[in-house]
């Protein structure tokens, strides 16, 4: 049973205090998107063995959503971080690389800061 530290309130919460929300950093496709784009958004999930990014809500706590980067095989937690970011920030990438030197990010877009939300 996992323990994750909520970056919003600083509490190290155990899994029973959290609510899992599936894969993180999905890009929403709404009306106007192609069938393929929408299908990918709705159904296509990575499910990797290894580094993965997930959404968690501190449900029995501050109520905030946050993101976790962890290894699905060893359950090592590389970082927990703000949900208000479209891509894992540089320090999260660095923490992963420190533990998994061979791992490569699979996104190419430039990370934006929270203030520059793509949906703004």
């Amino acid at each position: 049973m996992l323990t994750l530290t909520c970056p919003c309130c600083g509490v190290a919460a155990e899994e029973t205090e959290l609510h899992a929300g599936g894969e993180a950093h999905l890009k929403r496709f709404g009306p106007g998107s192609s069938d393929a784009e929408f299908e990918g958004y709705l159904f296509a999930r990575k499910n990797p063995r290894g580094v993965h990014f997930e959404r968690w809500r501190h449900a029995y706590g501050c109520g905030k959503w946050f993101l976790a980067a962890r290894c699905t095989a060893t359950l090592q937690v590389f970082a927990t971080y703000s949900a208000q970011t479209p891509y894992p920030p540089a320090e999260v990438v660095a923490a992963i690389r420190a533990a998994r030197p061979d791992w490569q990010p699979d996104w190419t877009e430039t990370p934006t800061t929270p203030a520059e939300s793509p949906n703004a």
């Binding site: 309130c9 029995y60 501050c62 109520g63």
Partner: protein, 172 residues
């Protein structure tokens, strides 16, 4: 019959005001209207009568004598009238319990997955008690636990069960 691990009593006369706002921007205004300093992350501030608790990065809970709730609500709404903020009287939606006694911590350790032994003296921890959400802070001689009013009977049953005489957690 041995004594219960702690005395469990329900507190009926508390008022509560929920405040949601940008604490960075509106913190001073809230502190002034509430009459208490702004608590840090996961902490409470208190003057012995009122408690201002940090609930989340944009939420505070003011706990105060019920008789003062209406006035405090108005003061806070007034202070935040120019802010994007939400101030609500939530005095009726919770049940509050006092857990008093040397082994009060043992009672909570049986119900909550949180590390309450390490909670700072002025800490506030939101967690669960068995299957119900709750918030916990210290007071002299013990703890206060708040949960939702609909599960007051459940929470009372849990606390009284956990306080069963002779069931302290000390090594035996």
């Amino acid at each position: 019959m041995a004594e219960a691990l702690a005395r469990i009593s329900q507190i009926d006369d508390l008022g509560m005001i929920q405040i949601r706002a940008d604490l960075g921007r509106a913190g001073d205004a809230i502190a002034e209207a509430a009459g208490l300093a702004l608590p840090g992350q996961g902490r409470v501030t208190t003057d012995g009568s009122r408690i201002l608790g940090w609930m989340s990065p944009d939420e505070l809970l003011l706990v105060l004598p019920r008789a003062e709730a209406a006035q405090a609500l108005a003061a806070l709404q007034d202070a935040l009238s120019t802010e994007h903020a939400l101030v609500l009287d939530v005095s009726d939606m919770r049940a509050a319990f006092r857990i008093q006694g040397d082994k009060a911590l043992h009672v909570l350790m049986k119900l909550c997955p949180a590390d309450l032994a390490s909670m700072p003296q002025d800490g506030l921890r939101r967690t669960r008690a068995a299957q119900a959400a709750c918030g916990i802070w210290r007071e002299p001689g013990g703890y206060v636990l708040i949960g939702f009013r609909s599960v007051a009977d459940y929470l009372r049953g849990l606390l009284q069960g956990a306080a069963l005489p002779g069931s302290q957690l000390d090594p035996r």
